[in-house]
Amino acid sequence: MSELTAEVAGTTPVAPVANAPNRRRFRDSDLLWSFRRSPVAVVAATIAFLIIGSALLAPLLAPHDPFDLASLSLMDATDPPAWLDGGNWTYPLGTDNQGRDVLSAILYGARLSLLVGVSAVILALVLGIALGLAAGWYGGIIETLIMRVADVQLSFPAILIALLIDGVARSALPRDVQGEIAIYVLIAAIALSNWVHYARTVRGSTLVERNKEYIQAARVIGVRPMRIVLGHLLPNVLGPVLVIATINLALAILTEATLSFLGVGLPPTEPSLGTLIRVGNDYLMSGDWWISIFPGAVLALLILSVNLLGDWLRDALNPKLR
């Protein structure tokens, strides 16, 4: 599914720009050049770095500490944003039902969302590369087994698989530790639902690379197989996978937010953007829209900018489009 979205999405706004005739003269240009000439990529990168930067610096930037229960006061609960009636600049984006500053909660929430997203992508990447290399290198029963599992998994949407793994892990674990390890369960669930794309790509490139001369030469001079795979093969199959990883980062963040929104992700004591939206959703009908809409807007901007960056990177690195 994500593969599809990416493929279809890639042919839209960025592609025509890269295809324009005056671009063709510069077919030997480097990545930075193509970045500077793509306004979409520049804007997306600016937004992404703004969000990521302020999320990383949350403890310094946040005007309040949303986890410091002593500083919370129900008197300040559900204050609207500062520019509306009843709002004040102590809480620029208003407060939630417990009197937490929405802006601070968003900064800390984005931090958690990014942490889960990036960790899940790295875990999926490691898993997918390892399995893809194993399938492509050994062939035979190992390959059949891994690729069959991949096929079966690919016929279901990733979000459903993440939801199932998460659900099963929750039922299997005792209730008292669920809150503490929720984040690890979540990372594992998202990673396990996402490794297939990497494995398939790596297997494909491995099949091509393993018969090339440099691998044969390494074999002839007696390099140990493990060293050939990790030292010679791996660097040569890594490129395409890293591009997929960039695009899948947006998907991983979205999956985390969705699971948290559904109430099976991060708990309200440790809220990610998705959890914040879930909490705010309960107050929507009473007109307190800012509790859910602001985290929602940040999430949407983050996903959109990472998506655009990933699309641009793929087009920029794809020789066929130049």
């Binding site: 839209t12 659900g167 937010a257």
Partner: protein, 328 residues
């Protein structure tokens, strides 16, 4: 052709067996089924007797075979949470989800295909550019954020549409429908749009890129040279040849719609299978989870099978390639 069908069916059955195995493992190894059925003061000997009576001491193969047998009859045991047969609960919830998915799929197709054709034919018009920009937002905006925005605008601010539930339903046999009353339609509009938006943008982008690709082909240039009207070229020649991937993807998306209904149903408190599944996950209601897993797995296998066969019927090249392979 028959060999192809048989091969696909066998593959589907294998996938179903794997899904059933996972569901079965869920049942048996996540928590203790006996603990879930009896109170804390039940004696050890009573537990052992119950274990024997329920056949939990039989071998793995026997228990799995029994599970599959029961599952094919729609018997998944009792829900831990509601203490009612799971099959009955699912049968109650299914019409809501299927109705929502059907309306959403229809919406996605009826809007997505024309929008794709338009943006493919008039690539540089301002409307195309706007549609593409909006569709990018449609792909990036999380489903639940779209739902929340719709509720905020149309329920909270304007008060036009209900924010939750299905509205009044009419019973037709075991099926319940909300589509026969105005209030039912009012209730389904926002969930259906929310669910359809992602698939709609996907279909639009797919049709667009296929149209652009096909319009570059030589036979289109030739048709132009022959002086055919652009109407005949665009719709008679170009569109026809874009439909193969569209059918495939749309078919596969049908399954996704049922899966994504989980999110939409949670936002709008739509009383369907998705909401039921999420509640089952939060309550660790394993029989309901297992049944949902098997049912959705079944939907997906059937959809994949039908799409594969359709593909085979629609695209003669595929047929020829296979026959050549078989003949060689």
């Amino acid at each position: 052709m028959i060999a192809f069908v048989v091969q696909r069916v066998i593959q589907g059955v294998l996938v179903m067996l794997v899904v059933a195995l996972i569901a079965f493992a869920l049942f048996n190894y996540v928590g203790d089924p006996i603990n879930n059925m009896v109170g804390q003061d039940t004696s050890v000997s009573d537990r052992a007797r119950l274990r024997e009576e329920l056949g939990l001491n039989d071998s793995f193969v026997v228990r799995f075979a029994r599970f599959v047998g029961n599952a094919t009859e729609g018997n998944f045991g009792l829900s831990y949470q509601q203490a009612r047969p799971v099959g009955q609960i699912i049968l109650e919830k299914m019409p809501a989800t299927l109705e929502l998915s059907f309306v959403a799929a229809l919406l996605a197709l009826l809007l997505g295909v024309p929008m794709g054709i338009y943006t493919g034919l008039h690539r540089h018009s301002w409307l195309s550019q706007t549609l593409l920009a909006v569709s990018l937002a449609g792909v990036s905006l999380p489903t639940f954020v779209i739902g929340i925005l719709l509720i905020l605008v149309f329920s909270v601010e304007l008060g036009w549409l209900p924010s939750f539930g299905r509205g009044p339903v009419i019973h037709i046999g075991w099926w319940t429908t909300g589509l026969l009353s105005l209030d039912g339609w009012r209730a389904i509009i926002m969930p259906a749009i929310t669910l359809a938006l992602f698939q709609m943008t996907l279909i639009m982008r797919l049709v667009r890129s296929e149209m652009i690709e096909v319009l570059r082909a030589d036979y289109i240039k030739f048709a132009r040279a022959r002086g055919l009207t652009s109407r005949a070229i665009n719709f008679g020649h170009a569109l026809k040849n874009t439909l193969v991937p569209v059918i495939t993807i749309t078919g596969l998306q049908l399954g996704s719609i049922i899966a994504f209904a989980i999110i939409t149903e949670t936002v709008f408190q739509w009383p369907g299978m998705g909401l039921m599944f999420i509640q089952a996950v939060t309550f660790a209601d394993i029989p309901v989870m297992a049944a949902y897993l098997v049912l959705v797995g079944f939907f997906f296998v059937v959809i994949n099978l039908v799409v594969d066969l359709l593909y085979y019927v629609v695209d003669p090249r595929l047929r020829l390639a296979r026959e050549r392979v078989a003949g060689a």
